[in-house]
Point group: C2
Chain length 549, copies 2
């Protein structure tokens, strides 16, 4: 029998949930209304004891107010977290947006000390801004070793492609976070680096046995544990040789036997989002929550339905299917984590009324963002791209509603425009540039005449499967070269796609790569490739002459 709504047990169980909310103040502003609770639901669940919220969307100013509001609704201490793996600016406008971790992984091969120093500052910057926003838990560092270039979900989010690099940089990042008094989270246990599938879309299957894991995937997790990581997030992967029936998130073999017993991890274990299809295709909200908790997770992240998850957990505890000690142990771990950050959060709350008006981004944050772009830039051939009256600046982005990397004043639009190129934006909702010809994939008559400058924003984002890799960019580069129409090439994002493209690139074609996609990366890349005189004049000239919507 299910307990009454406000029973003490229900309240204790609710504490272990982390539900999803938009960073925006009003329900109508939600970008993912299917996944983000309404304010009425949030308010009720927090009043009933739900103990954590994961936030996405909104500006950094909004998020500050949002966190304050959530704390008011909750009354008890809350875990407030966000997926700010690449700086607060990755998710909340107004924060600093940093190049993806892989940029430092590559740098580490040349200069270990510099890379580790930058990773530590990366963690400090992220931690500082997260704390100022009201968050107390950063869902990073990613501790996966990206040893599969075709990995559609980890890719540049990883700190490197080998255990030593990932271990060293993830630890440096974690130290930066800790110095700023926010909790970190190592993910995705036992390692999501070697999958060719996206667990947002389906359940990847891996054949590694424990010995293989100990030699590779588990190394960075052990390193960050030693460095004092506060929490670990599980992966939605079927580790066939460890547990043939349940994905790692729901597997006692993975969470209890390996993580708790073998590796002796005493901190918080949190599931990855339970709304991901790798889970929902086989388990309902209650089943998934009970299995995860029974397997060893302390916190249940984004259950498909919070009430169902709470109810099922209550039943499992009352029936004895899960011993009550497990509940108390998880509560205790959560309390300890909150205590760790309590002091810094309390201090911040005191300063809140004065600091609220100070901009989130400090000069040192901006300097770090710039330095990271500079340190990871690859200029294959510096140009200059010849100015042209009728050139085409063909940009490829993941989407436009919204477009996270371009605004009307983005350097990737403005600088080529000043050099005489007309911008053309290709994205999944737009009219296709492709024709049905493997060797000549680009339908050139759709673009107009003149040389083409290609700017590809490609980084293998989650939810896209391997869609990006199916776009024939190698053949396109060849085709444009054959036609003598390739004026320049830039890749922002994936080093793997960049490597494939420079292999076929003719000598002398201006080309550059940046792991970062943000305006600062665009500015630095194009300052090299275009005429410096023109670039200087640009400052902040918008692409259009508009001054209003």
């Amino acid at each position: 029998m299910s307990p009454p709504i406000q029973s003490p047990l229900r309240r204790q169980v609710a504490e272990l949930l982390v539900v999803r909310a938009s960073g925006h103040a009003s329900d109508d502003q939600r970008r993912y209304p299917k996944w983000e609770l309404s304010n009425a639901e949030l308010k009720r669940l927090l009043a009933e004891g739900v103990g954590g919220v994961i936030l996405l969307g909104g500006t950094s100013n909004e998020i500050r107010h949002r966190c304050k509001k959530l704390r008011q609704w909750a009354k008890a201490p809350l875990l407030l977290c966000a997926d700010v793996e690449e700086g607060v600016g990755q998710r909340f406008e107004g924060g600093t947006w940093l190049v993806p971790p892989m940029a430092l992984g590559r740098l580490y091969q040349e200069d270990q000390r510099r890379a580790a120093n930058l990773a530590e500052r990366y963690g400090r910057c992220t931690g500082h801004q997260a704390r100022r926003c009201g968050l107390n838990w950063v869902l990073a560092p990613v501790c996966d070793v990206n040893n599969n270039p075709a990995n559609p979900v980890i890719n540049v989010r990883a700190w490197g492609e080998d255990t030593a690099t990932v271990s060293s940089l993830a630890c440096a990042f974690q130290q930066g976070l800790a110095a700023e008094g926010v909790l970190g989270c190592a993910k995705h246990f036992p390692g999501h680096g070697n999958t060719g599938m996206d667990s947002h879309l389906q359940l990847p299957v891996l054949d590694d046995n424990l010995r293989q894991l100990m030699e590779l995937e588990l190394v960075p997790f052990q390193a960050v544990m030693k460095a004092g990581i506060d929490s670990i997030m599980t992966a939605h992967l079927l580790m066939r040789n460890l547990d043939a029936s349940s994905p790692a998130t729901l597997s006692p073999a993975v969470l209890q036997d390996i993580l708790r017993r073998q590796l002796k991890f005493e901190g918080l274990v949190v599931t990855d989002a339970l709304v991901m299809r790798a889970i929902t295709q086989s388990y309902n909200a209650g089943e998934a929550a009970v299995m995860a908790f029974a397997a060893g997770a302390d916190l249940i992240l984004m259950p498909e339905n919070a009430d169902d998850a709470i109810e099922a957990l209550c039943e499992a505890l009352q029936s004895g299917q899960i011993p009550m000690q497990r509940l108390h142990a998880s509560q205790e771990r959560r309390r300890e984590a909150l205590q760790k950050v309590g002091t810094s959060t309390a201090k911040l709350a005191l300063k809140d009324s004065t600091s609220i008006d100070k901009p989130l981004e400090r000069d040192e944050d901006r300097a770090l963002a710039r330095e990271l772009v500079t340190a990871s830039l690859k200029i294959h051939h510096p140009g200059p791209v010849t100015p042209t009256e009728s050139g085409i600046n063909l940009l490829r982005v993941d989407g436009v509603l919204p477009c996270s990397v371009l605004t009307a004043t983005a350097p990737a639009l403005v600088l080529p425009s000043e050099a005489g190129f007309q911008s053309l934006l290709y994205h999944p909702l737009g009219i296709s540039p492709w024709q049905d010809d493997r060797d000549q994939p680009l339908a050139l008559e759709r673009l107009g005449i003149g040389p083409v400058m290609l700017q590809l924003f490609l980084r293998g984002n989650p939810f896209r499967g391997d869609q990006d890799r199916h776009e024939p960019w190698v053949a396109t580069v060849k085709q444009l070269q054959q036609q003598k129409r390739l004026a320049g090439l830039v890749v922002y994002g994936s080093p793997y796609i960049w490597d494939e493209l420079i292999e076929v690139l003719n000598i002398g074609i201006p080309a550059a790569y940046s792991p970062g996609q943000m305006p600062e990366a665009q500015r630095q890349v194009l300052t090299c490739l275009l005429q410096p005189a023109q670039v200087q004049s640009s400052a902040q000239t918008p692409l259009f002459q508009d001054f209003t919507d």
Copy 2:
């Protein structure tokens, strides 16, 4: 000789300027950095006495904090205004976005009382939310009579196409504003309705003489003056038969002789933005400010350079070119206006700490927004559009960086998608759908196979010249009908384009029109045109399955 930076004269003059700022907190978030002062510049100018700020961009939460901040920087009372002609939500996310005024102008022809009642509530809603945001001056109602369907800049922003309609509705709107304790502004004097040119791009020339103006354009201005309008904004038009040399904004014949003497307007006269090309193509910042002020303007809106404008005005006053009484008269008018709204603003400031957390949009605001859409919807043929496995939902929008009318959860994308249509977005930066054939303008092979549902977001926005009208939509409708591939047609925005299209539309093709472009308009239109069962299920299903960026 120019006075020292902090001379009393300079301070008095600075009071008369209204400068432009972004609603966002940090400089990096500005959407129009060329036109929006940095925080350092703003802070300095406000400390030096600049007396007004016009705001654009940011969410309604941000704007609240922004207004507070600006008031702190200024120390003296400020005029804080915005172009929220169509509700606060038109400019600031989180506010209510209402259908354009022309919607009520059309309704007025059928039901005068209902239209006037709605216009009054339109003013209340806008005034209430503006005040809650911290604004005290709404730059509306537009009092232009849109008697030229090809008008590229007024169009649906006007309350009607004849003097009686515009007069009645503009007065009702103004009464609503006044009831909420914010200032209104009638624009664009002496009437911008009969131009075929956009003054953002060039200087339109009109041949009307005073008698003609008195019979038409000036009627609504006189009506709102009688209703107590607080301020009037000038137009950048060359009224050749009134002043052959200077545009109305800079013309003593228009501002002194007609507005002040003939019409006896005693309130504030404010220029339209002096950065518009109709002005900047002939005058620098100092010249434009001095001429406008000498001609009779009290407030100088968005000078190209605030310091130059202040300096030139100081010189003109010191040299006697402009008598000192003019300065004092303008200061006095500004003081009076501020006094009028002082009480309500002060009351609001007191309540600020409690009301800041209450959502801006009230239930009655949402109900008004819905009612306005319903009242102005035209269903030409209700459908249903036949569901199809391979149909194309071709959307035409003004731009995508950002797109003000579409998000990934917009009904215009989601509902057709649920009915089997694949969305295809056409916008100025995208790959063109056109081929060089007058009768068959659409390059059908670029779209894919299957029936096409056309959704045109077209309203004749400023800065676009007559670009929209050059897109061959009439020929496109004919072409799709000829091919038996037109599944449905929706126009959101211009009634003129809608009228042209239904003239060639075959009987039986589902089609509808809404003057509004917001999600609520999309929802109501598509609920009629698509299968109701499918529409019901949709609620807030996103177009994509993503739950993160």
